[in-house]
């Protein structure tokens, strides 16, 4: 059980997983209630263009370009949603496909980065560097602060935006804050989960928690617990089975989801 912990890469991977998963799980509760899982998918996939640009300009660690691209895409989606009559779904599909296309064209110019592409797509515990762990620790502190400080606002804009407005909440500002928080969470989880599967740690623990909760407080607590468990179990099995970490964590999340679903059916 403790054997993998003697390797520094595993220590980094496990610490990162334990820092990111509760934040993902917490945000996930609001993401599923607001039907924003496709939004987080769009952010995740667009990040590939950020990675490609980073490698193109010769960055060894393309985290900066990845973060900038994700934030830019998130703000553009939100801005277009508010300023145009385009459907949110359409805007996201445009950004999603456009950014992937850009990323693939850039990658085809870059020679010898096939390994990197694979790691970014499916996640790799070996790829979690010191900078990722430090960034995750910073994110953990910052996001915990933002989420708990604005929990009332996030909850009320989730229940109904008009009601939120009538309660004196600055809905526009609260929405931007929510989206920026979500984007940072998604962008930093990419190393561990991979672009293809980044939404899983966000959505699945929250959905599993929904199966076993009556109150919102319970849903938040269970979501965090399921997220922590899945991230830990996934990271460890990635090590033991020599598999990419993204699919391992995702399958752990889905296993928890199935168990909660059975529990719910039995209880009924």
């Amino acid at each position: 059980m403790f054997e993998p912990l003697q390797f520094s890469f595993m220590q980094r991977a496990i610490i990162t997983a334990l820092l990111l998963s509760p934040i993902c799980a917490l945000m996930g509760v609001f993401v599923i209630a607001r039907k924003m899982s496709f939004f987080s998918d769009t952010i995740g996939h667009s990040a590939l263009a950020g990675v490609a640009v980073g490698l193109l300009i010769g960055l060894k660690e393309p985290l900066t370009t990845l973060l900038i691209t994700s934030l830019a895409v998130a703000i553009i989606v939100f801005w277009l949603r508010e300023k145009t009559e385009l459907l949110t779904d359409t805007i996201m599909a445009l950004m999603f496909s456009g950014m992937i296309a850009v990323a693939i064209i850039i990658f085809s110019f870059l020679k010898g980065y096939k390994g990197d592409l694979h790691r970014y797509l499916f996640g790799d515990i070996l790829a979690v560097g010191n900078i990722d762990t430090i960034a995750s620790a910073l994110l953990f502190v910052l996001m915990s602060f933002i989420i708990f400080k604005n929990l009332n606002q996030f909850t009320i804009i989730t229940t109904n935006e008009e009601l939120a407005f009538a309660c004196g909440v600055n809905v526009g500002k609260a929405n931007y804050l929510f989206v920026i928080t979500l984007t940072l969470t998604v962008a930093l989880s990419i190393r561990l989960l991979g672009i293809m599967l980044v939404t899983s740690l966000l959505v699945v623990p929250a959905a599993a928690a929904r199966n076993v909760s009556v109150t919102l407080r319970q849903q938040l607590i269970f979501s965090i617990l399921f997220g922590l468990f899945s991230a830990l179990a996934g990271t460890l099995s990635s090590y033991y089975l020599n598999l990419p970490s993204g699919p391992c964590i995702t399958l752990a999340c889905i296993l928890v989801f199935i168990l909660t679903l059975i529990w719910k059916k039995v209880k009924e």
């Binding site: 929990l151 009332n152 909850t155 229940t159 008009e162 407005f165 004196g168 109150t215 919102l216």
Partner: protein
């Protein structure tokens, strides 16, 4: 209770609307609306579907931005300065099954000075709710998405009342609500008007439903005020102008 200083400090009307016009594309949804509502009044805005009732309510709240005209609430044009004094009950609100929020947790969001609902139990909500007498206390532990239409309306009114508003805006508050719940809602509003001088604006498609309580009625038709006055005055003039047609029309919707 009104004191002399209140009279001097307060503007004469709770709400003053002048030349309000709201357009959607090149269609006027509201045309040149002028309204004055006194403190403590119960104004019913009536009219058939599509007459601009909900738009008027949303324009008062500035959820919809007016194209021309001014709206002053308690003498103030900037909505952000007085938004905390307003309670709002939207029309036919639905809640997603995906969020397992209970009535108690939901109501806690409206309490003033609540820093973070997650760390509180809000036992005192029960006490506060007894004052409103809407029969919400027994619903507190229920998930919001499981409430029936009438239960949800009562919860939404209780929600807006917890903010201790001086002005309450209700959009079709009693639609889809059974007779008992409707009575509960109207009784509660009457008590609150008497106790705290609450000013109420209620949008309804049905004159007969609101005439028991309203002090004033404004009838809208195609975005203009077609008549206003006391409930009986409006009833008579609508009857004269449109015959039974207007009244029966509103009964069907």
């Amino acid at each position: 209770m009104t004191t002399t200083s209140d009279i001097h400090n307060n503007p004469p009307y709770a709400i003053e609307i002048e030349n309000l016009t709201v357009r959607y594309g090149n269609k006027d949804i509201l045309k040149n609306i002028n309204l004055k509502i006194k403190y403590g009044d119960f104004l019913a805005i009536i009219g058939p579907n599509g007459s601009g009732k909900t738009t008027l309510l949303k324009a008062i709240l500035r959820i919809i931005k007016p194209d021309c005209g001014t709206i002053k609430i308690f003498g103030e044009e900037d909505i952000n300065k007085i938004i905390t004094k307003i309670g709002y009950v939207p029309q036919r609100l639905g809640f997603e099954k995906t969020l397992s929020i209970t009535v108690r947790e939901f109501l806690a969001l409206r309490l003033p000075k609540t820093k973070n609902w997650f760390f509180h139990r809000f036992k005192f909500i029960d006490e506060k709710l007894k004052i409103a007498r809407l029969g919400v206390t027994e619903l507190l532990e229920k998930p919001l998405y499981l409430l029936s239409g009438g239960e949800l309306q009562r919860v939404l009114i209780a929600f807006s009342l917890l903010g201790e508003p001086e002005l309450l805006l209700l959009d079709e508050a009693t639609e889809g609500v059974d007779f008992t719940a409707e009575n509960l809602i109207y009784e509660s509003l009457a008590t609150l008007r008497k106790q705290i001088g609450l000013t109420v604006i209620l949008v309804s498609h049905d004159l007969s439903m609101v005439s028991r309580q309203a002090t004033n009625v404004v009838a809208l038709s195609n975005g203009v005020v077609c008549c206003e006055g006391s409930p009986s005055e409006v009833y008579q003039s609508l009857n004269k102008a449109y015959g039974a047609h207007f009244i029966t029309y509103s009964h069907h919707h």
